[in-house]
């Protein structure tokens, strides 16, 4: 049996604009799925590289999210900390197909492990 490469996690409009939803991964950390003001969707491990804050709960602005714990700004496209902070959160490739959000299965497993 072949395993699908992409996980269908739901409709784009289930994610609030300038907001985030999470995907629970059994046996691992959550994946945070973000939607920017301009409608782009990104997925990252839901964990700040600093003190492991839940990025899904941060304020989304431009192409970044501010971690709710200590206001580190994390790039949604690369997972890198912006500004003077150093650190990186694993990212998960996303594609949109007919309004559905698909995230890369292998990267999800790797990130959440």
């Amino acid at each position: 049996m072949t395993i699908a490469e992409w996980l269908d996690i739901g409709w784009v409009d289930q994610i609030p604009v300038r907001g985030s939803r999470t995907v629970q991964v059994a046996g691992g950390d959550d994946i945070a799925v973000f939607r920017t003001a301009e409608g782009k969707v990104f997925a990252l491990l839901d964990r700040c590289p600093h003190k492991h804050g839940r990025l899904s709960q941060g304020i989304v602005h431009g192409g970044a999210v501010a971690c709710p714990l200590h206001n580190w700004r994390i790039s949604l496209s690369t997972g890198e900390a912006l500004g003077d902070d150093k650190g990186c959160t694993p990212t998960v490739p996303v594609k949109i197909d007919g309004g559905r959000v698909l995230i890369c299965r292998a990267s999800t497993l790797k990130a959440a492990a």
Binding site: R21, T22, Q24, E38, G39, I59, H61, G62, T78, T108
Partner: protein, 825 residues
């Protein structure tokens, strides 16, 4: 065009059959003829019973600005003159690739040597009940325009579903034709694929000013009507009457024919750089194709594709490399332009210019010294210049500082150094458009002693209104003074050149009503702000417009969104309100039950005399609240920039030293002030005697009861910098104590800066100023109190009950759960 007689006798040339008589199919043929007019015998099949016309000009036809004849590209003579056989009104239904034939609906079969598929795209019809009712149409071809014109003649209401390019053009046309038009758009802003939030907001305002009703964030549930359409029902229950419904929610590549013929199809018909499909004898071009993973719904890429296609057909292949697209909205009087990628991201830098007085918003996105995108609203004159720089990938580092002012300005000085360009401006060049201030006036004002941006704004008014010329004024300061420029006031954040007080004053003075409006009017330099300014703007608007402003949840810190305190492990702590620190068995039992039921690992008595339940999971919060609500408890707002707690001692009811009923007064004050949003957290305490067991003199507002009445203290803080309160005054009655408290809170709400506690606020403005406003000015105090109570009439609505009842449930539940097969093994 040169006239050529049709070939006499049997035509032995290769036969090129084109499916699609639209813009792509005909353009491809034109390109081919221009290269080698005699090489192929050409037959074109078209589904519409018409010659080739310019589909993108249907909007002006609908608007009454053009007629059908105006938009015909190739008339019947063109087909005849070029020996092209046109089969119009009989669409091709099947392709037989083995036999190399196509068959039409009418039964005609034609053989081909090369086949070109240019079927374009189909309008996407959202699958809602009633979609097939008469009066529900798309906006794709001339028949649709005729239907709309007939409906407009009858007058009445029209609904356009879809606030994209096509939908807005349809709405504009119908509106000009006299219909009352409502646009329903699923997304929060119009044309979100081409415009950012700021430009979308300006566009919405402009269209509303023209009499259209624009509903954003509106989801269509069904189209209602018996024999024909009568209205559109939204998922929130709203019913909008309509005799015409235009669906313009998007287009899909028309691929059915290709798919049935077994060609490789992804989102579109897959083609290589020469527009050849998976079958070498079959080509495809236009909106129906997918090239390098991209499908296009605009006209410009089509021209590029047709060139590459024709080059391949005459065996001089060049290859198509994809297109960068730009968009202009064809609504007369509203100038909108967008190009490239404006979604930002790493290494991208936004250059934003906003000019509120002229309704202009310009944003250019630069990455690695190259323009990658542009959004222009109100002034699109430089759109083609930016687009040209973008397509050519020109290094703009030399133009960087003046880029946003446009081609005339950036190239004006002819100098590589922007400072030199400003230096080269003549003395009568206008710097500040809002206030009509010239360069000469700014320089002379600097020479007379205005050595900071603030001083310039204060004297000659340059950059004092919209701030869009701030950069120019700063350059003039640097040019005139060298290193002597004084730092200006601290700005709110990097998104604006204004400080908190300026922003707040302008929000009130100009009656601003939303975050995008504030950002536009005050010339924010970022498209959607940052995590510093968004919560501040949200608060200032909320405070200015009680009962009217719609709180922007995405501009709130997580604790205020989820109404609980996030902890370092991602769980939450929950503090129910206990009025004045009093509780009872029912409440205590409910709390104990919650602790057990949800496995809370810890319960702690807080410094403010409340019980804090730790370790609650985000998804359990609504159930926890429902349980606490059931016992009569509401949110304690321990998470918010809001009233936290009123701490009390037991007072005269029990204590042998007590002078007044401090617990009773504490409960009354907490009932009056709970639920109000403030610049920062706010703590109150009431002590029953000067022994001050409730520690009232390190609170934001503290009451110390004495025999003769109540001492009121303000501006205390027990945090990093311990600050003892200042004595505000002494009053005789409980009611006065409460009235002064309400007035003080409102003064703090209206005048302190966001995230400024009362202690630093009072140190900044001076306690004498506070006394003058609260104690000396009776009418002012009364007015403050009245405004506070008015605002409270909207804010004392338990956020827990709303959410336990299902509001914003999506904040709590995960979107999906994934159990990897690996985990099951």
């Amino acid at each position: 065009m040169e006239y050529r007689p049709l070939n006499p006798g049997p035509d032995t040339r290769e036969h090129l059959v084109v499916i699609g008589n639209g813009m792509a199919g005909c353009r491809a043929v034109e390109e081919l003829l221009a290269r080698d007019a005699d090489r192929y015998r050409v037959t074109i099949f078209g589904a519409e019973p018409r010659v080739n016309y310019n589909r993108i000009m249907l909007s002006p036809v609908l608007a009454g600005e053009k007629s059908f004849d105006d938009i015909v590209i190739n008339d019947a003579d063109w087909y005849a003159a070029n020996g092209i056989a046109l089969v119009a009104g009989d669409p091709v239904m099947a392709i037989d690739r083995a036999a190399k034939t196509v068959t039409t609906r009418g039964g005609t079969t034609e053989s081909y040597d090369r086949l070109l598929i240019a079927t374009g795209s189909d309008p996407f019809i959202i699958p809602v009940p009633g979609k097939d009712l008469p009066g529900v149409i798309a906006f794709r071809d001339m028949d649709d325009v005729d239907t709309m014109l007939a409906a407009a003649d009858a007058g009445g209401d029209a609904v356009v579903i879809g606030g994209g390019l096509l939908g807005l053009e349809a709405a504009h046309g119908l509106s000009l034709r006299g219909m009352k038009v409502t646009v329903i758009h699923l997304m929060p802003t119009l044309m979100e694929r081409q415009l950012d939030e700021a430009a979308g907001w300006l566009l919405k305002n402009a269209l509303e000013a023209r009499g259209q009703t624009i509903l954003t964030g509106a989801d269509t549930a069904e189209i209602v009507g018996d024999a024909k359409v009568e209205g559109v029902k939204l998922k929130d229950g709203t019913l909008i009457p309509a005799s015409l419904v235009v669906m313009a929610v998007g287009i899909r590549p028309s691929v059915a024919l290709a798919r049935n013929a077994g060609l490789a199809v992804g989102r579109g018909i897959q083609v290589d750089d020469h527009m050849v499909t998976s079958d070498p004898a079959v080509l495809a071009v236009g909106e129906c194709v997918e090239h390098d993973g991209q499908v296009y719904g605009l006209v410009a890429p089509l021209w590029d594709m047709c060139r590459s296609l024709a080059d391949g057909l005459v065996e001089q292949p060049t290859g198509y490399r994809g297109s960068v697209t730009s968009t202009k909205l064809k609504v007369s009087g509203i100038d909108v332009f967008s190009a490239g990628d404006f979604s930002g991201g790493d290494g991208c830098e936004d250059i934003v210019l906003r000019d509120a007085s002229r309704g202009i918003y310009k944003r250019v996105i630069v990455k690695d010294d190259r323009i990658v995108g542009a959004v222009l609203y109100g002034d699109t004159a430089d759109g083609s210049w930016y687009f040209d720089l973008l397509k050519k990938q020109e290094d703009v580092s030399d133009l960087r500082d003046l880029l946003i002012f446009g081609q005339a300005f950036a190239s004006g000085g002819g100098a590589a150094d922007p400072k030199a360009a400003v230096a080269a401006l003549s003395a009568d060049a206008e710097i500040c458009g809002c206030n009509g201030v010239t360069k000469g006036q700014v320089v002379s004002c600097i020479a007379k002693g205005a050595h900071s941006l603030d001083a310039v704004r204060g004297t000659c008014k340059a950059s004092a209104s919209c701030g869009s010329c701030t950069g120019l004024v700063e350059m003039l300061l640097a040019l005139t003074l060298g290193d002597e420029v004084q730092a200006g006031p601290k700005t709110m954040c990097k998104c604006t050149s204004f400080g908190h007080d300026d922003v707040r004053r302008e929000i009130v003075a100009q009656g601003m009503r939303s975050i995008p409006e504030a950002m536009q009017q005050m010339h924010w330099t970022t498209p959607d702000g940052c995590s510093s300014c968004r919560p501040a703007l949200n608060y200032y608007l909320l405070c200015a417009l009680p009962g009217e402003y719609v709180d922007d949840q995405q501009s709130r810190f997580v604790n205020e969104r989820l109404h609980a305190n996030i902890q370092k492990d991602g769980t939450y702590s929950v503090v129910p309100r206990m009025w004045g620190g009093l509780t009872n068995p029912t409440e205590l039992r409910a709390i104990a039950d919650v602790v057990e039921k949800y496995d809370a690992p810890m319960v702690k008595v807080t410094g403010g005399q409340r019980l804090d339940i730790f370790g609650i999971k985000k998804e359990d919060l609504p159930a926890v609240w429902a349980d606490l609500n059931a016992a009569g408890m509401v949110s304690g707002h321990a998470y918010g920039k809001a009233l936290r707690t009123v701490k009390t001692c037991v007072g005269s009811e029990w204590c042998r030293f007590g002078t007044q009923d401090s617990t009773g007064l504490g409960v009354k004050i907490e009932r009056m002030s709970w639920g109000s949003w403030m610049p920062h957290k706010f703590k109150i305490a009431v002590s029953g005697c000067p022994r001050n067991c409730a520690e009232a003199t390190i609170k934001d507002f503290g009451i110390v009861c004495v025999d003769s009445g109540y001492e009121l203290h303000v501006g205390g803080n027990g945090g990093i910098h311990v600050r003892v309160t200042d004595l505000l005054c002494k009053v005789a009655t409980e009611q006065e104590a409460m009235d002064y408290c309400a007035a003080f809170i409102q003064l703090y709400r209206e005048e302190a800066r966001y995230l400024e506690r009362t202690a630093p606020w009072i140190e900044r403005v001076g306690v004498e100023q506070i006394k003058a406003r609260i104690v000396d000015d009776t009418a002012g105090r009364e007015a403050l109190r009245a405004r506070f109570l008015y605002a409270q009439s909207f804010s004392q609505d338990d956020p827990w009950a709303q959410r336990a009842g299902g509001a914003e449930a999506e904040h709590h539940a995960p979107m999906a759960r994934f159990i990897p097969q690996e985990a099951l093994v």
